[in-house]
Symmetry: C2
Subunit: 594 residues, 2 copies
């Protein structure tokens, strides 16, 4: 019997005991929902993920997409079967409006549902993940006609969607994209350029592929200001092939089942108009493309955090399972070679590796669900102040929700390998694949470095540090509650208080000099320090729910929190010291010295 | 033009400016050698590694060994060609006696030479790496006849060697091996059992394969006391096939070009005697096998550290090369979208990732060469006291020399991917392979956890902490010299002094309670803390040589040391705090709580 894909018990703890997601059912949008419908979604997700997604995870890793001589992409059949079942179960449409065929699920529940699939098969789940993000953006900024023509079939699983941002010469630096969109005079545009790293960029899984393409329309400002967003379908309404050509596939160390493509727009190979240029439709207004894309990007970033978490979590469960089954060595104590070997899980160092994983993956999952609930709050709060507050908090937490799981749940996967010993890096077990799949996440959708600049350079300073002040205030509420408790919880509150205070002070110190280059020289260190403080707060939040409850599950929460406060949180102190000292090492290192 | 495989300049700095390896030429064993012969070895290594090893590194990663229906292993031809050239150049025999066909190179130079090959192609280099370790053991403990029959052809490249320790049910726990060796009455033994994870366990690269097998001879004590060491050749003298059968190949995420095998000894398939049982020859005395193997193991562990270092170093050089070439984004400062993009290496966060790598890989290389010089000292010191001192220091440093590079140079490879952005995890670049290859090293030849137990449970406490006292004394000498210098070096000495003092104190505290289970509950944390202190000392040693010298190379050493002292060493403080507090979290975690 294989290890569970995720922990249903932990999800229920987080969703119902901590976040009280059923309270959302009092809101109009979610009035049809209840604990029963939420549970049914989780049941279905667990079953479908096991039966249809986990079942081909190794196979699609071993059988990468290939480009057929006729230019089509060949995938193993299991992927289409899984995705068709996924769509038929209403999983793509879950969080969308009922009048679009959705079931108006809270994003929090949709996120928990998707995590089962991400944990079971990261690569296959990437296709609907991108489709959902694409559809979300069009629902927000597209025209009625665009929604009717493209979103509806995407939600039904007939079409799929992509995000086309990067180009070979411009990855993180979107100001440098050179793809252009020229008005054709009939309200449409002709798109020309090359897009790189496009996941799901070509395949035969769906009838059509809806590309959302960043391009410059002549007359826009310089840099990012000139960027617009164009909808470019692979097939035009009516069925003609649009001028979008697959140039090649990228081969990555992980997520191998996801086609990752280099696409040429408008090279003339498939021109539907007789002249080179892919037919594109403007989304929203000209020159506003980047802001639309960032609306999607923030959700995608939390989604990447969720993916990293799911991979970390499932690896953790497999390593627990292995550690319980595999015997090796003996307990420390009087030398007794005649004694029977003990299970790996009896060794303190193995427990250390399991505790580290548990504290990372359960902390990350809690953060990701917390952020998802902020999305629900932002969209459905009764008053605009609450919605704005949720959005502000979401913005400051997003770089952490993206980067922290990508860093620490990847380390969790490395520890899962370590628990397996030599078996861990063989393909007979699953954990080496999780580790490879997860290595993509610190780069996907904005690198770690980009997240650090976003957090320290924008999110904690914008509007007189409104976002940071809000976060510190919310943490203070938790700390107040924790201080009122007895014993260890009050002790943790005292420990964490010092780090929370320090976070505010260090942020002010970094910006006190007025030199952005110096302030941002160690923004990655800041990101990591802030991330650990946030996760410690998230653990304290969980402990407030755990209280004095006993039993293996609650004891497990307690010991994982103990691990995080004893082994992890204190590592923030030297990072804060470095930041407070305005360390110039990285800034002053001359390129010739390497 | 590809990035260099290793830095010749850094090797020369470490070997000649710091370790003064040429001073060894005054000793009788090395009397034929000089700076010129050492340089010639390094030249040849660099050339051969580039021409014959790097050239098929990707190909052998993509084309794994397969087991042919007739039971033979098929490898790509390039591996045999490379190894034949390696042997023909005298590289296997380098450090061995002249009368065995060797050139009596210092181990330090042989290590530096091998590092070029490890960096160019970890998998192919594993074959001679194991052969050298095997031959070393036989030279020490084998009979004249065994040396003549097996070592001589191994050193010439005609035979290769393996180490057969692990079994499917017994990895780190050698007490539980069940392979047996029964006296056949004619001085030979019949070996029966299954060995797992045997690198180079079968192939057609050489005429013969010499297995060194741990087995229990009836009548030995329980547990590890009953273990003996048997030499079991694939082909017996005279040419008959011995009863060693390849059962299957293991498929790992890295080092794919190295056959990794499951071997059955004595199942009867190839019996040369008419009855099941592989013919084996005792090495040394009965029931002493483990101590012989550990003699080899200590060298192999430093070799694993060297391999991890080489992979980290070559990835570092590739990421520097990429960061210099690839432009992306703009310098921080006044917004100017019209400015040209800058090279990645101009960004502080990219320099952070390069500095981290540099401080890890150059620190690790220095440690590995320092330990290799201790091997030379132990073998050739003029007086027995110096030899014993070198051996004692080597023993205490070995778990660190194995584990520290395996942990931090793997992280260096992850940072090398990160510097490459999305390209980093594609197979178009090399760094993702280094990362996969390097992930094996925290497990190979004793896991991280095993090294922690070895360091804290044996090496720093044995003989009234003689090893630790020696290490602390040697560090004190460095600190004295550093304090006498001006400026930053004296400052670093002050910083490091506190950590060195703490290392001694914390060790005493851990053992003060008399409870080994509690003392060892966080032995991995101890290992990591001690490792960082040792590497900081190694950086200070380098800085003493750098002194006030200027120029890019010395400035590079200075900034990397600055990085290590500012960003890395301070992280040891919370680890020491945890240890000093005798934290019970890992010990008290109940297996049911996961």
């Amino acid at each position: 019997m294989p290890a569970p894909i995720l922990s249903r018990r932990d999800l229920e703890f987080l969703l119902y005991e901590w976040l009280d997601v059923t309270a959302l059912c009092a809101r109009e949008r979610f009035a049809e929902h209840s604990r029963e419908t939420f549970d049914a979604v989780l049941d279905l997700s667990a079953d479908l993920a096991a039966a249809r997604f986990r079942s081909h995870n190794k196979k699609s890793d071993a059988t990468e997409p290939v480009m057929h001589p006729d230019g089509t992409v060949v995938l193993i059949d299991d992927i289409k079967k899984a995705l068709d079942d996924f769509a038929a179960a209403g999983m793509i449409a879950g969080q969308f409006d009922e009048d679009l065929g959705g079931s108006q699920l809270p994003v929090t529940i949709a996120r928990a549902s998707l995590a089962w699939f991400q944990a079971a098969n990261a690569a296959t789940t990437s296709y609907p993940f991108l489709t959902i993000a694409n559809a979300n953006l069009l629902v927000e900024y597209g025209t009625e006609e665009q929604i009717e023509t493209y979103v509806r079939p995407m939600l039904a699983g007939r079409y799929s969607g992509t995000m086309c941002l990067s180009e070979p010469q411009a990855g993180s630096s979107l100001a440098d994209i050179t793809t252009t969109a020229r008005p054709a005079g009939d309200g449409t545009y002709r798109v020309t350029g090359t897009k790189m790293w496009i996941s799901g960029g070509d395949h035969e899984l769906t009838e059509n592929i809806v590309h959302l393409v960043l391009a410059k329309i002549p007359g826009g400002g310089p840099g990012v200001e000139g960027i617009s967003l164009l909808l470019v379908p692979k097939y035009l309404p009516g069925g003609a092939r649009n001028d979008v050509a697959l140039v090649g596939l990228n081969h990555k160390m992980g997520n191998r089942g996801t086609t990752n493509t280099l696409l040429n727009f408008g090279e003339g190979r498939y021109s539907p108009t007789g002249e080179p240029g892919a037919v594109g439709y403007l989304v929203g207004r000209e020159h506003r493309g980047l802001s639309y894309m960032f609306h999607m990007m923030n959700e995608a970033r939390i989604g990447v955090g969720a993916l990293a978490t799911a991979l970390g979590y499932t690896g953790y469960l497999q390593s627990v399972d292995y550690a319980r089954t595999r015997t090796q060595g003996r307990a420390l104590g009087p030398r007794n070679p005649g004694a029977a070997p003990v299970a790996l899980i009896e060794h303190a160092d193995v427990k250390r590796m399991l505790l580290a994983q548990k504290s990372y993956v359960q902390g990350a999952l809690a953060l990701v669900l917390y952020c998802s609930q902020l999305v629900d709050e932002q969209k459905t709060a009764a008053d605009p102040e609450s919605a704005a507050r949720a959005q502000l908090l979401l913005e400051v937490l997003t770089p952490i929700a993206k980067s922290w799981p990508s860093q620490w749940c990847l380390l969790a996967n490395s520890l899962a390998i370590q628990v397996h010993g030599g078996y861990g890096y063989t393909r007979e077990y699953d954990v080496e694949q999780f580790y490879r799949d997860n290595r993509l996440n610190p780069i996907h959708e904005g690198t770690h470095g980009i997240q650090g600049l976003d957090l320290l350079g924008r999110k904690v300073v914008a509007n007189d540090s409104a976002g940071l002040k809000l976060l510190l205030g919310i943490m203070a509420e938790t700390l107040d509650q924790a201080r009122a408790r007895s014993g260890e919880i009050a002790g943790y509150a005292k420990e964490l208080q010092a780090f929370v205070d320090r976070l505010g002070e260090v942020t002010a110190t970094l910006w006190s000099d007025g030199d952005p280059a110096l302030a941002l020289a160690n923004s990655s260190v800041y990101l990591e320090a802030a991330g650990h403080v946030v996760i410690a707060w998230i653990w304290l939040e969980q402990l407030l729910v755990v209280g004095d409850r006993r039993g293996d599950f609650y004891n497990g929460k307690r010991i994982a929190a103990q691990y995080f406060f004893a082994h992890e949180l204190p590592t923030v102190a030297p990072r804060f010291d470095l930041l407070a000292g305005l360390d110039r090492t990285t800034l002053d290192a001359h390129p010739d010295w390497f």
